[in-house]
Symmetry: C2
Subunit: 350 residues, 2 copies
């Protein structure tokens, strides 16, 4: 049995889609218990529209909401009764195994570190979304708040990402690569040049070297290691170029009567194709390295993505990923050159 706290109030389509996603998840899997966190009256009213096994969903009241525009650090500190803080405290107190939210990324990243706390030995917890490729999906690690990371952080990202892809996504011996501006080892900025030899030394990783951004959509690696600024650019550009091209293709087809008729005929096939390139099919992004699991789903998540994010938590727990991370860092930390753990916000400060 797994207990997942779900933020009913965060995201563009909250609470409707968040509640619908939770319902879909319990209807799909009997082993899940959901704690729906949010304003009780609002959440209960949404719930009343659905049919589901009543003992699998419970509402947990949280009167406040953290808005996207708010300063994350300030919001986490002040809004003690917000759905994010209440949900994360459930994980901290082991009343839930995981927390899923489509709310403010900043607040989720800060709350994950401050409330849930890091696994001992983890220097920085990376946010690691799955991105669609020609061959399936790849894990992009890190897209979180850890800008200006150090080489030792990137080595930990690689280890955690590799464990995730192997045990949650079922990819045997996942190929790990570092984002670079050329394939040769001597290429790159200072961070990449320092990190590259450290990754090469990791005997527990299937490190395949550098990956140029062009190769990412082709599925050139299973675990794509980068610093958060670069990761954020990759993630958002992926979405931006995809959306622009698809809208161009659609409007291009509306240009003449001939192509309009053609568009009607290709539509079903095209829809199926583009679905495979839609990030929402693959659930949310885990914030790895925490004492529990926090999953950030897209702000514009609909029920299907919420459901997939919840189901992802089941595999995560079943596979004991956090134990594996603990084990991996414990046995390797002696060998890594940097063991210090400076953090922008101290764990347990809240």
């Amino acid at each position: 049995m797994i207990k997942v706290a779900v933020d009913a109030m965060g995201g563009d389509y909250a609470p409707t889609e968040m509640v619908a996603g939770a319902v879909a998840a319990v209807n799909a899997n009997k082993e899940i218990r959901i704690l729906l966190v949010g304003q009780e009256s609002v959440v209960s009213e949404e719930l009343s529209r659905h049919t589901y096994p009543n003992d699998q969903i419970q509402v947990v009241n949280a009167t406040e909401i953290i808005e996207t525009g708010e300063s994350p650090v300030h919001a986490i500190r002040k809004k003690k009764d917000s759905s994010i803080v209440v949900g994360m405290n459930l994980v901290k107190q082991k009343e839930a195994d995981a927390f899923v939210s489509a709310g403010s990324s900043g607040a989720i990243l800060v709350g994950g570190q401050v409330i849930v706390g890091r696994i001992k030995g983890v220097e920085r917890p990376p946010l690691a979304p799955l991105i669609p490729t020609e061959k399936g999906v790849s894990l992009l690690i890190d897209c979180g708040a850890n800008v200006d990371a150090r080489p030792s952080h990137l080595v930990q990202f690689a280890r955690m990402g590799s464990l995730y892809m192997e045990h949650v996504m079922g990819i045997k011996n996942p190929r790990v690569a570092i984002v670079n501006i050329g394939a040769e080892e001597e290429k790159g900025n200072a961070l990449v040049k320092e990190t590259f030899p450290l990754l090469k030394e990791c005997e527990d990783l299937n490190f395949t070297g550098s990956i140029e951004a062009r190769e990412i959509p082709h599925g050139g690696a299973d675990v794509i290691v980068c610093e958060a600024f670069v990761g954020n650019v990759i993630l958002k550009l992926y979405e931006g170029v995809g959306a622009t091209l698809i809208s161009k293709v659609k409007s291009g087809m509306m240009g003449s009567l001939r192509s309009k008729i053609g568009a009607l005929l290709v539509k079903p096939a095209l829809k199926e194709t583009l679905k495979s390139f839609d990030a929402s099919q693959y659930g949310g992004a885990p914030l790895l390295g925490l004492n529990g699991l926090v999953v950030k789903t897209h702000g514009n998540s609909k029920a299907v993505e919420v459901k997939n994010s919840i189901l992802q938590c089941v595999t995560f727990k079943e596979q004991g990923i956090n134990d594996k991370i603990r084990e991996s860092l414990k046995s390797k930390n002696e060998g890594t050159p940097s063991g210090h753990t400076t953090m922008p916000i101290k764990n347990g400060q809240e």
Copy 2:
């Protein structure tokens, strides 16, 4: 009259497409003289297949070729009779106004600095490709070799890019933005946080603040300022996602008889649409801030891109961009906080 040296030997389709592009350029514009640099017998034989005004194209012999895999610094130093070194020397000696090459990016970047040399006051010459957007094109500056740039470099990139977009591309008061991971001023890595206030102070720029990668394909800014590592990731991911999606769309349409018929009907309209998202329509990437002009075209350039790159040089010269850059840096350098000019390779070293 403008004289353009063209590297006949560089690029995946050299010499055939390079020569064909040169011929197309002189047939399109009577004011261009081309110096086709390469192995004389090979180039002359290619030329003999074309019809063009003979006085507009001249072959300049260069016996060596710099390969893509070679160390750029070493190749520029040793291969004195390569098409890249000979072509750049023509610019240095004012026998040509510009040099166009589809050869080794590294060698072009190094040669530009070492042989052609920087305009006085330019700290680092940025490589600035035009990328297609929903609204037209944007200039991505820098995608070159200047990784780990400093804030003062980025301010110069913004100035040079703005002049280029205004006077070569004809965009009045171009919107200048810096690539960031959020719209708010306090977001970003150390480099962006330091650069942002400097750009805000530039009264000669229409600085519109941060741009998230998602907004780039939507045409969110005309000049997109970033450090070279990030720029390279953006450029290559742009190409990668585009190519993957287009191939997915095509194969998706071949899935059933119904969609195959539809594909035949939409094909012409779709082709036209996708053409507008094809970088090769917009010529090559100028390496700005040099005593002369160096344009790097895609390695896989066909004649049309070579031709467009050559025509781009005409506008560049007509508009006196280098004089405008000189003027802009002269009048502003007093005001910028950092005036030092450390360089990876010293100008004039060769």
